[in-house]
Point group: C2
Chain length 135, copies 2
């Protein structure tokens, strides 16, 4: 089971790179430094752009730049963009309301765990990652 998918992972690396280097960074520079396939990196950056995390400019001196302070970009937020809401709890029997009592009990427990995980994932952000990386 993978909790963090590659696109989320690459996105976080790219964001850390951008935040700790120049204002505007080009795809090619990210590719060269992070070793991610170019078209995949482009796709990821475009998604970050659409989501309002990055801004972009086209043309000769174009590239991507952070649109918010690094501390305002959380790991949780990035995961939501690329993976949807990462649910720990999910009900499988098709019916809307789970008819299985034991399972419902499980679901409740999972929801509690999930809540804690989300809280922690919201606390980690690009700024704190960079800071921790330098230490």
């Amino acid at each position: 089971m993978k909790f963090i998918t590659r696109d989320s992972d690459y996105a976080l690396r790219a964001l850390c790179y951008i935040a700790s280097n120049r204002e505007v960074v080009k795809v090619d520079e990210l590719v060269a430094n992070l070793g991610v396939p170019r078209p995949f990196m482009r796709k990821i950056l475009q998604k970050l752009n659409k989501s309002g995390i990055l801004g972009s400019t086209k043309g000769q001196h174009g590239g991507f730049r952070l649109k918010r302070p690094a501390a305002a970009v959380s790991v949780f937020g990035i995961m939501r963009i690329f993976q949807g809401k990462p649910e720990l709890s999910s009900c499988f029997l098709k019916k809307e309301v789970c008819p299985e009592r034991p399972h419902c009990a499980l679901r409740k427990k999972l929801c509690l765990i999930e809540k804690g995980v989300f809280r922690q994932l919201k606390e980690i952000n690009i700024a704190s990652l960079i800071k921790a990386g330098r230490a």
Copy 2:
């Protein structure tokens, strides 16, 4: 993202059923009560048998029975059987030791979160699920 897969889920339901009903239960009874496809249920029970959670007897009055006390079968244990070790932290760049400082920082954080989740998943077991379900 699915944290608990269907086979884990079905396995937990089956175990709750067996633990709260008769000593020995047949596949057909589980199928009738849980609404899981028969061949899939069989596969799951066979795996639980191989893993030492269930015991089985063949033949006319055969079926499956719990091999341990219900309180000794944790959700974490079942997830490990069907999903492998559910890692929240995982390093993507192929190299053994992750060369990206920010990512390593992330990894450390994820490991901490993971530790907490595992502890909680170990505390939930078949007995506690049944008890909670009855309340």
